[in-house]
Assembly symmetry: C2
Homo-oligomer: 167 residues x 2
């Protein structure tokens, strides 16, 4: 928070702050996903996590384009929300040995991450449009649509997986 | 995590753990919402937060019914995810003086909370059904539907609010 301490004075400042929040979050997710790939057993899910890791790297590049479009320095701010979501994912998965149960927990954790990103991108797009930055909104929407698709894909895997795991 | 340390062995254990996670989360939200009610200026939003505070108390009661239905002790487990989301909400709102900007930040924070709850309830309902607990799933779905309605209402307020704030 240091960089912006007591310094969010306008909607533009809030937009930039939140952009830096999701930039930090995406970078933390890039670090967390390989650990999830290692832990997961279901091959469909493993491929899904690997695909989303590549997408997430693309999201970071798009965010850097948005920083440049908006004429601001590329940087993150601490985001206790994503830190908490990832800490919880790590805590829970560390308490499970059974592979199917672990996969179910990893799907749930990944969906919590997706929902955080979906809400933040939704907010950022609304603010960008209102600030007259349709160019920024368009790029942010590409990230949002990929997060939504990932969440839906996870729901699909979850349904088939839990069917099996509950038997 | 202490109560369940290394002890999530089955889908049922994972369901119970996640039930305790959302139970803790709902209790933290009940503590956080009055502070958000105090900070917000927009009257529609203030009423919305007050309404959701009452709904959240109802969610806690429904969760307690689910614990009883499932024959388990009513208790929470630490949930670093909601702690992080609420910490971030508090951090950001503490950096804003302008009322309209503060309202926009509070809407975004409330939507982050809603999305966390939506993903957790979605997961819990899927697991409850697969575990043959349609009775639990039915109650959890009542909470989910209220969270979804709250998120949509917040989006509506956000759109009209940001229109005004960006002018």
């Amino acid at each position: 928070m240091g960089f912006f301490s007591k310094d969010i004075k306008s909607m533009d400042d809030l937009f930039v702050h939140t952009l830096r929040d999701i930039y930090y979050a995406e970078n933390q997710i890039v670090k967390a996903l390989p650990k999830m790939v290692d832990k997961v057993s279901n091959m469909e899910l493993k491929k899904g996590f690997e695909k989303h890791l590549q997408e997430t790297k693309g999201h970071i590049e798009r965010l850097e384009q948005v920083f440049e479009m908006h004429g601001i320095e590329i940087s993150g701010v601490n985001c206790p929300a994503i830190d908490g979501i990832l800490e919880e994912a790590d805590d829970v998965s560390g308490e499970i040995d059974d592979k199917r149960v672990l996969d179910a927990a990893l799907i749930a954790s990944a969906q919590a991450v997706e929902h955080y990103e979906i809400t933040r991108y939704g907010t950022l797009i609304a603010w960008a449009k209102q600030l007259g930055r349709d160019d920024c909104a368009g790029l942010l929407d590409l990230n949002l649509q990929e997060e939504i698709r990932t969440d839906r894909a996870l729901t699909g895997v979850a349904e088939s997986h839990v069917n099996a795991a509950a038997n």
